[in-house]
């Protein structure tokens, strides 16, 4: 997973923008000791944020493979996850059980909504990305109403005064906050204490093993799927739909499957995000994750119609690296917090670059 590749051909393959971003991150890393920022804390942050976001980024892969483009309709998938999470709490589950139930409840929603979404995308081949964007918005704004109108009653979630309508931010303490992250967590401070030795700055590193294993499992399943008969068909559909059709593949059904997979992974992704972050965010929040997620997989080396698991991993690390490092390092260095602006320019610039690349324009 090393991004510091020395070979010139490899550099060329990485592409110009990726090079700049990696270089930028590298500079940030080098700067850390000089501006008095604690490197181990930063690394812990990056690992943590990686564990929150990686599954969401992974959710981009099936749709890209099947030629449905970048999934700007991610809010739809997130809504499925939100339904799973909120219903699990509403039904009274607590602790790790609430996470299991959230996964179980989110799944049928993902299959049904994803199926409908797939049906729609099959009717508008060629215009997927723009329509996905607005399907995401529409569904999200529809659910803004639903969060107010659905008969939720769990006192941890609804507005305290009126007693109905979900709050915009719901704390997951007592539910599935850190459920996976705490599983087999490696905390160097505790190890040091147990062994009665000092590990120095290493003691500030914590690794959320459970979350990483969960991601690794899903990524492995994705990788394995792409090596099966159906997975091969999906890649072929994305590579050349006419070829696949002539080879007897049901293109529409394959695309539909990819959309359902993407939606389900997106739902899992937001649950992973919530268990790491510790809060459920409703209303317009789902939209905030779309662009960073799309940008992450592109930064990782994916294009509009090709993506792989390494793209997901590299992209998430690079993007989250920039998100975590820029505010602290730049703030300490020049006392100006430009991180938000840099994040916008980097992520949108990356998407723009992918959209305007010539080789991908002709379809």
């Amino acid at each position: 997973m090393s991004t510091a590749i020395v070979l010139p051909e490899a550099l060329k393959k990485m592409g110009f923008p990726r090079l700049i971003i990696s270089g930028f991150l590298l500079v940030l890393f080098i700067l850390t000791p000089f501006v008095g920022v604690d490197l181990p804390t930063q690394i812990t942050n990056i690992i943590n944020r990686f564990s929150w976001n990686a599954v969401l980024v992974l959710a981009m892969v099936p749709m890209i493979h099947a030629g449905c483009g970048l999934n700007f309709g991610l809010p739809l998938a997130i809504i499925c996850g939100l339904l799973g999470g909120t219903l699990s709490i509403q039904l009274g589950f607590t602790g790790p059980m609430s996470f299991v139930m959230a996964v179980l409840i989110a799944t049928p929603f993902a299959v049904i909504l994803g199926g409908g979404y797939g049906l729609l995308l099959n009717r508008i081949k060629g215009g997927e990305m723009m329509i996905a964007t607005y399907v995401g918005f529409s569904v999200m704004s529809f659910f803004c109403m639903m969060w107010l109108l659905l008969p939720y009653s769990s006192p941890t979630m609804v507005y305290g005064l009126s007693g109905n309508g979900l709050r915009p931010t719901i704390s997951l303490d007592g539910f599935y906050n850190q459920t996976l992250a705490r599983l087999l967590e490696i905390d160097f401070a505790k190890i040091a204490a147990a062994l009665h030795i000092s590990l120095g700055p290493l003691e500030r590193i914590k690794i959320p093993t459970g979350s990483l294993i969960a991601f690794a499992l899903l990524a492995f399943l994705m990788w394995a799927f792409l090596h099966t008969k159906t997975g091969t068909a999906m890649t072929a559909v994305g590579s050349n739909a006419a070829f696949a059709r002539a080879a007897g593949i049901n293109v529409d059904r394959t695309r539909m499957l990819s959309v359902i997979m993407s939606t389900w992974l997106g739902a899992m992704g937001i649950l992973m995000y919530q268990q790491g972050f510790g809060f459920i965010q409703l209303y317009n929040a789902p939209n905030n994750l779309t662009m960073p997620t799309v940008a992450a997989i592109l930064i990782g080396g994916a294009s509009v119609n090709k993506a792989s698991i390494p793209n997901v991993i590299i992209g998430t690390i690079l993007f989250q690296g920039i998100v975590t490092m820029t505010p602290t390092v730049m703030n300490s260095a020049i006392h100006m917090d430009m991180s938000e602006v840099i994040r916008i320019i980097v992520s949108q610039g990356m998407i723009l670059y992918a959209l305007t690349r010539k080789a991908e324009g002709a379809k």
Binding site: A224, H227, T228, K229, T230, T232, A233, T235, A236, S239, N240, A242, F243, R245, A246, A247, G248, I249, N250, K306
Partner: protein
């Protein structure tokens, strides 16, 4: 025509090759002012390439230009773009319409040449803000339509027009150009009704009378006889005849078009198989394939034979395999081994052991961005579950990379596919090698029946021979029935046992491969639409 004046157009020793593939050799002819020249020849004879050279199309320059001279009014010219040709007074009506659908006939006739009036804004911001002079536009388009001599509604929007009127709008557009001296019409009557075609011929005569020269390309030979002053017949990149029309006939022209001497034509070892069992029976097939419409085709194919399907471009020969294999919308009845195969469902055809090598290599035939291994093994994997390892009792079907590699390597060796390795991407191969990959893909399916569409289109001579030989071998050794569709009659005669000629979307006739070229030629033009 007086002799002391230079003729309008002289073509002298025009030569053109596409990457070593000679397509035009020593083309010479002249065309006088007000003369109508009929240009005919089979597809691939070089007519379109010649016209592209004359019209300065980009593709000529991009593929290395041409040699020889074009003289207009005795002066040597060199057109780098179609706009240069337009400037010099050459107009061309292409087979594909080049009209803006939402504009009226007038707006299309004067597209980008609209008469304008100056105004205050345009004085400051430049000529593009001149206002259109609608009155003058109407006048000019009316004049052009008048010149053409066929009445069309100048105010009608193109998308509402019948197809013939679109064609006339294009012609009127060329006529509205004042400098027009020479008009090239590329199969203009193909989309016209009989009456409209009649009117067009009349209009051509009118143009000639006004001193405009016309090059008229058509497969309808009687039209040439009706309107042209002279006929130029091309074959295999040569001009084989250049004669005054009154000295010739449809039979003569047909013979020149297709006829190499019958003795010299290397007819392959064609077999007669009259008693053979019918393996595939096509009844009343129609196919909606744009540009290759099939109407009511019935055809029986015998087990073990190689049947050729020939015909001129656009007559529907390509529609047959594409329709049967479910790639374009089709209707009718297709029976394979006595069992009906549902149409519009590629999967069902493949399941019945039919295979298809598409004429469209890049769009349909290949996964350009994937490895050769994927290209060769993919259909066999998906249809017949070959190259898969079953895990967990068949629940998981895992790709067998080793098996895929082996089969690809086998075909790379057998078909002599030139590549760096079986992992190379298909898009990096040359046309001939790509075609071999397409064949390998079909062979890997081990079909009982194979459709091969234009197997030699756009590939060099060496690869051509190899591809045809591979097909023959596949037929002889594996007993596979092959239907080969090709525009090149000679190639069909070398390879096939029987040849069906499609004309006007229908079967014009079926002849043994040994039949004479004239017979084939007459069938080809018999029902041309």
């Amino acid at each position: 025509m007086t002799n002391n004046v230079n003729p309008l157009l002289q073509m002298q020793n025009i030569k053109k090759d596409f990457f070593g593939n000679q397509v035009l050799t020593d083309i010479n002819f002249t065309l006088g002012e007000g003369e109508v020249l009929g240009l005919c020849g089979e597809n691939g004879a070089g007519k379109s390439t010649l016209m592209k050279i004359l019209f300065g199309m980009d593709v000529i320059r991009e593929t290395g230009g041409y040699s020889g001279d074009i003289l207009i009014d005795g002066k040597k010219v060199e057109f780098n773009t179609p706009f240069d040709a337009l400037e010099a007074g050459i107009g061309m009506v292409h087979q594909e319409f080049s009209l803006v659908p939402g504009f009226t006939a007038t707006e299309n006739i004067l597209l980008n040449r609209e008469p304008c009036k100056k105004n205050i804004v345009s004085e400051v911001f430049g000529d593009r803000l001149n206002t259109l002079d609608y009155k003058e536009m109407d006048r000019r388009s009316a004049a052009a339509i008048e010149k053409m001599g066929v009445a069309i509604d100048a105010k009608m929007v193109i998308s509402d027009m019948p197809v013939g009127h679109k064609q006339f709008t294009e012609i009127a557009r060329e006529l509205s150009k004042d400098q027009l001296k020479l008009l090239i019409l590329d199969e203009p009557t193909a989309v016209l009704t009989e009456k409209e075609a009649e009117a067009l011929l009349e209009s051509i005569r009118g143009m000639a009378a006004r001193g405009i020269s016309v090059i008229f390309i058509t497969h309808r030979l009687h039209e040439i006889l009706a309107v042209c002053d002279k006929v130029v017949v091309m074959r295999d990149g040569y001009v084989v005849r250049d004669v005054p029309t009154r000295e010739t006939s449809v039979e003569d022209i047909t013979k020149w078009m297709v006829g190499r001497d019958v003795q010299s034509a290397a007819v392959g070892e064609a077999r007669t198989n009259d008693g053979g069992r019918t393996i595939l029976s096509i009844k009343n097939l129609w196919v909606d394939m744009p540009g290759e419409t099939v109407r009511d085709v019935s055809l029986d194919i015998r087990e073990g034979e190689i049947l050729g399907i020939g015909g001129l471009a656009g007559q529907g020969k390509l529609g047959i395999p594409n329709g049967v294999m479910g790639l374009y919308e089709a209707g009718g009845k297709v029976e394979f081994n006595g069992q009906e195969i549902p149409l519009n469902n590629p999967r069902k055809c493949l399941d019945s052991s039919l295979a298809f090598v598409s004429e469209d290599r890049r769009e349909v035939g290949l996964l350009l961005d994937e490895s050769l291994e994927w290209n060769v093994a993919f259909p066999a994997m998906q249809i017949q579950e070959k190259f898969l390892k079953k895990l967990l009792g068949g629940f998981i079907k895992w790709r067998d990379e080793k098996g895929i590699h082996q089969v690809t390597q086998k075909y790379i060796d057998e078909l002599q596919i030139k590549c760096t390795s079986s992992k190379q991407k298909a898009k990096e191969l040359s046309g001939g090698n790509q075609q071999k990959v397409c064949l390998a893909k079909a062979f890997a399916l081990e079909p009982k029946f194979l459709f091969v569409s234009e197997p030699t289109r756009g590939i060099d001579v060496g690869a051509k021979a190899l591809v045809l030989e591979a097909l023959k071998q596949f037929n002889r050794e594996s007993g596979v029935t092959v239907v080969m569709i090709s525009s090149e009659l000679e190639e069909l005669r070398q390879t096939c046992d029987r040849i069906a000629i499609i004309s006007g979307g229908r079967v014009a006739g079926i002849l043994p491969a040994a039949a004479s070229s004239e017979e084939f030629g007459l069938l080809m033009v018999s029902q041309v639409v």
